[in-house]
C-alpha cells in the first residue's frame, strides 16, 4: 500500500449568538463584576441562570444577585492545561456553589497544587482585568479565607439585573485542528492526478466507473477496486455561471464571471466538476469538449479548456447530466 496521504485541516468558526434576557443580564453582570442568578417559582436559585426551569420548564425571569464567594462541590486537578482553557498553568476544574445559590458553576480554580484543593473549600471570583460580557470575565476562582477586617467586601448589593448598556450577543469562537487523510481510493486518485492521470475505479457489480472514486459504488453498496484510467478529455454535461468572487485565498486570482461545469471524462460514468477557462463565459455550452490544463508543479488541473473538437451529441452524455 502506498504511503497514506495526510494534510492539516483547520475547522474554525465564530458563532454569533444572541443572548435573550436572562443570559444577557448574567453576562452583562459579569462585565460589571456582579453575579446574577435566576430564581424559580419554588424558590431555588440557579447559577448560571437559565431561561426555563430545568424541572418544570416554566419560563423564569426573576433575577437576583448572589455573592462572588462560594464553596467547591467537586474538583479535578488538571496538571496539563489544554489550549483555550482558562489558565495556562496547572489548575483545578471546580464546580462552585456561590453563596446564595442552590446550583454550582463550572470554572477553574487557581491553586498551587492538588494538595491545596478540597471539596468544601471556600473560594471567590477573581475577575478578569478586561471584561466584555462573557463567562471568561471570571478569570478563575481563588482561595478565600474571609476578609481580615471582619467586614465582607463580597456581600451582594441587591442588584436587579437592569443595566444601561447590556450585552445582547456573544461571539463564540471555535478552532479545531485535524490531520485529514482521504482513505485508500481517494489517496490513489490524488496520487495519480499528481502524475497528470485521471484514475477512477470500476464497480465490480454494475461496471460503472467512478471518478473521483470514493471507494464504494453508491448504487450497489460494494467496494470498488479495479482502477481505470479515464479522460483526459471530456464533455461538459451541465454548467453554471459564477458571478460571486471567491473568498478563499486559493481562488482570488479568478475573475468573475466564470463558468463552473460538470464534466464527463471519456470513459467515466459519473461527471466531476471543474472550472472552464480559455473561452468566454457566455460561449460555454452543454456538449462542449474540454481537456485539463496543468500548471507547472501543480498536483491537479487548474481548469479545463476547449479541445476544439466538434460538440458531443446529447445522446452520448444524457445519462450523465
Amino acid at each position: 500500500m502506498p504511503e497514506v496521504l495526510k494534510a492539516p485541516l483547520v475547522v474554525e468558526f465564530p458563532f454569533t449568538r444572541s443572548l435573550g434576557p436572562v443570559q444577557s443580564a448574567f453576562l452583562t453582570g459579569l462585565r460589571e463584576r456582579v453575579v446574577l442568578a435566576v430564581r424559580t417559582s419554588d424558590g431555588r436559585t440557579l447559577v448560571p441562570p437559565v431561561e426555563y426551569d430545568p424541572v418544570t420548564a416554566e419560563e423564569i425571569r426573576d433575577l437576583v444577585e448572589v455573592a462572588p464567594t462560594g464553596t467547591v462541590t467537586t474538583w479535578a486537578w488538571n496538571h496539563a492545561p489544554r489550549r483555550d482553557q482558562p489558565l495556562g498553568t496547572p489548575f483545578a476544574w471546580v464546580l462552585v456553589r456561590l453563596d446564595g445559590a442552590d446550583t454550582a458553576l463550572l470554572h477553574a480554580l487557581d491553586a498551587p497544587g492538588p494538595d491545596a484543593v478540597h471539596t468544601g473549600m471556600r473560594v471567590r471570583v477573581r475577575w478578569a482585568e478586561e471584561r466584555t460580557g462573557a463567562i471568561t470575565d471570571i478569570a478563575c476562582f481563588e482561595r478565600y479565607e474571609g476578609s481580615p477586617d471582619g467586614g465582607d467586601p463580597a456581600e451582594p448589593t441587591g442588584h436587579t439585573g437592569e443595566f444601561d448598556d447590556p450585552v445582547t450577543g456573544i461571539v463564540a469562537r471555535a478552532r479545531l485542528e485535524y490531520t485529514y487523510s482521504p482513505g485508500r481510493a481517494q489517496t490513489a486518485y490524488i496520487n495519480a492526478l499528481a502524475d497528470r492521470r485521471n484514475v477512477g475505479e470500476r464497480c465490480p457489480s454494475c461496471r460503472k466507473v467512478y471518478v473521483p472514486p470514493r471507494g464504494a459504488c453508491p448504487t450497489c453498496g460494494v467496494a470498488t477496486s479495479e482502477q481505470v484510467e479515464v479522460g483526459p478529455r471530456g464533455t461538459v454535461t451541465t454548467f453554471c455561471i459564477v458571478n460571486i468572487k471567491a473568498a478563499h485565498t486559493a481562488n482570488l486570482d479568478i475573475e468573475v464571471p466564470y463558468v463552473y461545469a460538470h464534466i464527463a471524462l471519456d470513459g467515466a460514468d459519473l461527471a466531476l466538476h471543474a472550472r472552464i477557462g480559455g473561452i468566454p463565459y457566455d460561449q460555454v455550452r452543454m456538449g462542449l469538449r474540454v481537456e485539463p490544463v496543468w500548471t507547472e508543479g501543480a498536483r491537479y488541473p487548474d481548469h479545463y479548456r476547449p479541445t476544439g473538437e466538434p460538440d458531443a451529441d446529447y445522446d452520448t452524455y444524457k445519462e450523465l447530466v
Binding site: 448574567f26 474538583w75 456553589r97 463567562i135 485542528e177 490531520t179 485508500r184 453508491p218 453498496g221 467496494a223
Partner: protein, 354 residues
C-alpha cells in the same frame, strides 16, 4: 408496576463491528464502514433492497469532515432511493428510531449502523463543542476533565475510591482479552493521572470503529436468526445540561429509562454498560440496581474500545450477540451521550426460552 408492551415483537437479528484501532488513516469513513454492513447483511442473507428502513448515527465533528454521513451512505447502496434517516448521536439512538419505525408497521426490517473516526482530531477538545455555548464551552473543559469532576464527587460521597476504579479498569481489559475487536485488552497499567482523580487507565482508548445491527419484526426475525434477541423494552431519558444542577453521583435518567424499558421487572443475567470512564460504571451499577450476580461488560465495554458514536450501539449489539449465542437469556444494554452520563438509553433484550 404495569407497563405497555410494544405492539410488535422486534428483535436484533445480526450484529457486526470493526476491529477498533487507534487510527484507520488508510481508510475513508465509508471504507471503514462497508465491511460491517456487508457482514450483517451476509449473516441474514438480506440484500440492501430487502431492508425496509436504514438509520445511522455519526458526527462530522469527529473527523472534521462535512456531510460525511452522506458519503457513508455510498456503502449502503442507496440507489434507487431507500427509506433512510440519520441522527447526530450514538447509533443506539438510531436503533431507537428504527425500532419505532418497525413498531408502526411501515417496515419489517431495519439496518442500523454508526461509525466514528476520532483519530484525525483532538477528541477531548472536539467534545467540548457539544456543551452549553454561553457558560461552559468557552472554557473548553475537555471530556476527561468533566468525567474527573464526576469521579471526585463519587469519591467524596464514599461511593468509590481509586483502587475500586482501578479494579473496574483491570476487570474490563481482562474480559476484553476474549474480544478480538477490542482496542485495549489484557494487562494495562493504571498509569499517571490524566485529570486527577482519573488516571489514564480509568479513561477509554481513543480510536476509530464502526458497528451495524439488523432489526426484524415478528416471524421475519425468526426466519433471519436462530435465536433472535427480542427487544422487550427500550427507552431513553435526558437530564439538565447544567452540570452544577445535577447530582453527579446518581443517574436518575438511567434509572427512569430502565424502569420504562422493564428492566426491574425481572433480573437480567448480563449488562453491557456504556461507561467510558471507570467511575461511570459505579454510577450506572447503582442506578440500575445491578447486583454481583449480573455479568457486567463481558465484552470489556467502552474501556476496551470506545469508537465515539458507535460504542453505545455496540453495547446493544454485544448484548444481543450473547443472546444469539445462547450465553444470555435476558440482557440489559445501555448507551450514553453527553458529558457525565447526561443522556441515557436502556434496552432490555431476551432470547426465546430454551
Amino acid at each position: 408496576m404495569t407497563r405497555d408492551l410494544p405492539v410488535r415483537d422486534i428483535a436484533v437479528v445480526a450484529f457486526a463491528q470493526t476491529d477498533h484501532r487507534r487510527t484507520s488513516e488508510e481508510l475513508s469513513e465509508v471504507e471503514m464502514l462497508m465491511p460491517v454492513l456487508h457482514d450483517v447483511l451476509a449473516q441474514t442473507g438480506l440484500k440492501t433492497a430487502d431492508i425496509g428502513f436504514t438509520c445511522s448515527g455519526s458526527s462530522d465533528y469527529l473527523a472534521g469532515r462535512a456531510f460525511s454521513f452522506t458519503l457513508a451512505l455510498d456503502g449502503v447502496g442507496a440507489w434507487p432511493p431507500i427509506s433512510e434517516s440519520h441522527v447526530e448521536m450514538d447509533g443506539a439512538w438510531a436503533l431507537y428510531e428504527a425500532w419505532t419505525k418497525l413498531l408502526t408497521g411501515d417496515a419489517d426490517t431495519a439496518l442500523v449502523y454508526s461509525y466514528g473516526k476520532s483519530s484525525p482530531g483532538p477528541l477531548r477538545d472536539v467534545l467540548t463543542r457539544q456543551l452549553d455555548p454561553y457558560c461552559v464551552a468557552p472554557l473548553w473543559p475537555d471530556s476527561v476533565a468533566l468525567a474527573a469532576l464526576q469521579a471526585q464527587a463519587l469519591i467524596d460521597a464514599g461511593d468509590t475510591d481509586e483502587p475500586a476504579l482501578a479494579a473496574v479498569a483491570a476487570r474490563s481489559r481482562a474480559d476484553a482479552t476474549a474480544n478480538s475487536h477490542a482496542q485495549l485488552r489484557g494487562s494495562v497499567p493504571q498509569g499517571e493521572y490524566a485529570v486527577r482523580p482519573l488516571r489514564t487507565g480509568d479513561c477509554p482508548p481513543i480510536g476509530d470503529g464502526a458497528a451495524a445491527v439488523i432489526l426484524a419484526a415478528g416471524e421475519r426475525a425468526r426466519e433471519l436468526c436462530d435465536r433472535p434477541a427480542w427487544i422487550r423494552g427500550i427507552d431513553h431519558r435526558i437530564e439538565a445540561h447544567g452540570l452544577g444542577v445535577r447530582d453527579l453521583t446518581d443517574s436518575p435518567s438511567t434509572r427512569l429509562a430502565a424502569e420504562k424499558a422493564g428492566s426491574f421487572e425481572r433480573p437480567v443475567d448480563t449488562a453491557e454498560l456504556h461507561a467510558p470512564f471507570t467511575s461511570q460504571e459505579v454510577v450506572l451499577r447503582k442506578a440500575l440496581k445491578l447486583d454481583a450476580g449480573v455479568r457486567v461488560n463481558p465484552s470489556g465495554g467502552a474501556l476496551a474500545a470506545n469508537p465515539v458514536m458507535a460504542a453505545g450501539l455496540i453495547r446493544i449489539g454485544e448484548a444481543a450477540a450473547r443472546i444469539h449465542r445462547g450465553e444470555s437469556d435476558r440482557a440489559l444494554a445501555h448507551a450514553t451521550s453527553g458529558p457525565c452520563l447526561q443522556q441515557n438509553l436502556v434496552a432490555v433484550l431476551e432470547g426465546d426460552p430454551r
